[in-house]
């Protein structure tokens, strides 16, 4: 009985890892990515005034992971653009989201249950991309597991890592904002996923690739759907990091904490004396901090 269930689970995972991504899952990936582009400030006006720049931004959102991975591995940057059908599909989605009459498409897509389905399907694509990226890097560098982690991470987190370049295309140049400084949940999850898949690839993790894909996809889908449904932006790693970081990076963590409080109270009270600052801290800083992190994460929540 036990063996049978294990077998069927293994077969389920195997068939799951062989589902072709192209039309349906890729479509939902494009829809969600371009939806997040539309949420960016100024994106709608940009699409009205400079459609070409907006289109290039949309392409970066859809194919940023491939471009970045190609850059890292020294392959042609526009390699992925030879997939005419994918690019045309992404362009059609971009056109519908930005220019559909009455915003019908946008309204349908951003209706919460529909959006949840698309978000779930996007996570399936993300996990598959991490696995493919690591396999690809393994093909180039057999023992370079840092290379594998980097490629998988880049493939998973996509445009978030090149947000500065993407902002530059939209005419915003803010070198002081950076994804690596404020990693969002998908970026962190891709990093951890890349590490797991690399361990699997180098046979340190005694699981088959198909079942790892299955398990990690389930984890990502449930997390992401839960986060999107509740509109919350606490990443599930927060609890874990709260325990691990003080141990590993104790001194830095304390200093950082202090710095954060200082900045928040400064922003909130607009310059009280140092004495007043401390009295304000407990009430104000908590609220400010949570708000700040929430706002940060709405932006990068792809």
């Amino acid at each position: 009985m036990d063996l049978l269930s294990a077998l069927s689970l293994g077969e389920l995972a195997l068939s799951f890892s062989r589902v072709p991504l192209f039309p349906v899952f890729d479509l939902s990936y494009f829809i969600v990515s371009i939806l997040y582009l539309k949420y960016e400030p100024g994106a709608v006006e940009l699409s009205r005034r400079h459609p070409v720049a907006s289109w290039m931004c949309a392409m970066l959102h859809c194919f940023g992971s491939y471009i970045l991975a190609d850059l890292l591995l020294g392959e042609p940057l526009i390699d992925y653009f030879s997939n005419n059908s994918s690019v045309l599909l992404a362009s059609a989605v971009w056109y519908l989201i930005f220019f559909c009459p009455l915003d019908l498409f946008y309204k349908c897509v951003s209706f919460l249950p529909v959006k949840l389905i698309f978000v779930a399907m996007k996570e399936v694509v993300r996990v598959r991309k991490i696995a493919v990226g690591i396999h690809h890097a393994h093909h180039h560098y057999h023992h370079g597991w840092f290379v594998m982690i980097a490629t998988g991470w880049v493939k998973g987190s996509g445009v978030a890592l090149m947000s500065n370049l993407e902002q530059l295309l939209r005419g915003v140049w803010k070198p002081e904002t950076n994804e690596i400084l404020h990693m969002s949940f998908p970026t962190k999850a891709s990093l951890y996923g890349a590490i797991l898949f690399t361990l699997q690839q180098t046979r340190w993790l005694p699981v088959s690739k198909a079942s790892l894909i299955f398990i990690f996809t389930m984890f990502m889908v449930s997390c992401k759907v839960f986060l999107t449904a509740t509109h919350s932006h606490n990443s599930p790693f927060d609890v874990l990091e709260g325990y691990v970081c003080p141990v590993l990076f104790g001194a830095a963590w304390g200093g950082d904490h202090h710095h954060d409080n200082h900045g928040a109270s400064h922003g909130g009270s607009h310059g009280g004396g140092p004495g007043a600052q401390h009295s304000v801290l407990p009430a104000k800083s908590k609220e400010e901090l949570s708000e700040g992190s929430r706002k940060k994460k709405t932006k990068k929540a792809d």
């Binding site: 539309k38 949420y39 960016e40 400030p41 100024g42 994106a43 709608v44 940009l46 699409s47 009205r48 005034r49 400079h50 459609p51 070409v52 720049a53 190609d70 020294g74 392959e75 042609p76 940057l77 526009i78 653009f81 030879s82 005419n84 690019v87 056109y95 220019f99 559909c100 009459p101 009455l102 915003d103 946008y106 309204k107 530059l168 939209r170 005419g171 915003v172 140049w173 803010k174 002081e176 904002t177 404020h182 954060d260 900045g263 928040a264 400064h266 922003g267 400010e288 708000e291 700040g292 706002k295 940060k296 709405t298 932006k299």
Partner: protein, 291 residues
């Protein structure tokens, strides 16, 4: 008559770019560099940086297409004669006694001749880019369009990046987003030549080269004489953008008219959402900065 036309276009398409047309291209590019504010003082203070900028101006398109195709970006240095030619033109323009070249160049017919010859090189570059991309990707016509465009007009992007790194230029302005006239024309040409290459356009290559070059040269010269920008493409663009990207606007206008009578809030909500999102984001960024 027919055969003589064929002969003419065929002979034209076999013209070698090397000495004269390339010289005109380098001349126009380096002159554009010299007319930038602060370029001359920069050349006196730091000749090497100025020389490198000049090389970027002259070979920018090739560099961009090399980056896109994962080839060594400095491959243009292997072409010694062209680099030496461009360097000598840079030297003459910046350091010639009494600024003879600049004074000669400010004479309008010379400018017209040089600009016309530069436009001829553009056609050749587009075609070179397309055939090069086709050798990598047989069916990737999007890649072919992109590489053709990068070869023909990529210098603008490369020089903008160079200025950005130097800190001379901030992308808040619209120049970056607004495509300049040469880049639009190059995009158009790249499209046409790609369709020709994939046999969707039943016209022989040399005829197309001739016609496109004539179009480029005449528009450029009329633009220089009348001192206007974007003469030819503006009406087409207007129509095209109204056809492609104007739907929503027209519909929302229509609905506003209707909404004045029957209070419908359909577009209201859809419009207000991104705006509130935007203001929220600005706030967020503000708080991030203060942190």
């Amino acid at each position: 008559m027919d055969s003589s036309w064929e002969d003419l276009t065929l002979a034209f398409s076999r013209t070698s770019m090397f000495p004269f047309f390339d010289i005109a291209h380098y001349l126009v590019s380096v002159m554009a560099l010299k007319h930038r504010p602060g370029a001359v003082e920069g050349a006196w203070k730091n000749p090497f940086s100025s020389w490198f900028t000049a090389m970027l101006h002259c070979f920018g398109g090739g560099i961009l297409s090399c980056i896109l195709l994962a080839e060594p970006p400095l491959r243009f240095f292997a072409n010694h004669t062209n680099v030496l030619l461009a360097s000598s033109i840079w030297y003459i323009i910046f350091f010639c006694p009494w600024d003879l070249i600049s004074q000669g160049y400010s004479f309008l017919p010379v400018q017209l001749l040089a600009a016309g010859m530069k436009e001829v090189t553009r056609t050749w570059k587009i075609i070179g880019g397309i055939t090069h991309a086709n050798s990598y990707y047989k069916n990737g016509w999007l890649v072919m369009i992109a590489i053709g465009w990068a070869q023909g007009a990529g210098g603008i992007i490369i020089t903008n990046f160079e200025q950005l790194l130097k800190g001379d230029w901030k992308p808040e302005g619209n120049e970056w987003l607004k495509m300049s006239y040469p880049s639009k024309v190059t995009l158009l040409g790249s499209l046409i030549f790609t369709f020709q290459h994939t046999k969707h356009l039943t016209i022989s290559k040399h005829n197309l080269m001739f016609l496109y070059t004539i179009f480029l040269v005449t528009t450029k010269i009329t633009m220089m004489i009348t001192e206007t920008s974007s003469v030819t493409l503006a009406p087409f663009e207007d129509i095209l953008s109204r056809m492609l990207f104007g739907w929503q606007h027209q519909f929302s206008l229509c609905e506003k008219k209707c909404g004045a009578k029957s209070s419908s809030n359909g577009t209201g909500s859809s419009v207000s959402k991104p705006i509130t999102d935007g203001s929220d984001d600005v706030k967020r960024k503000h708080s991030k900065k203060t942190e």
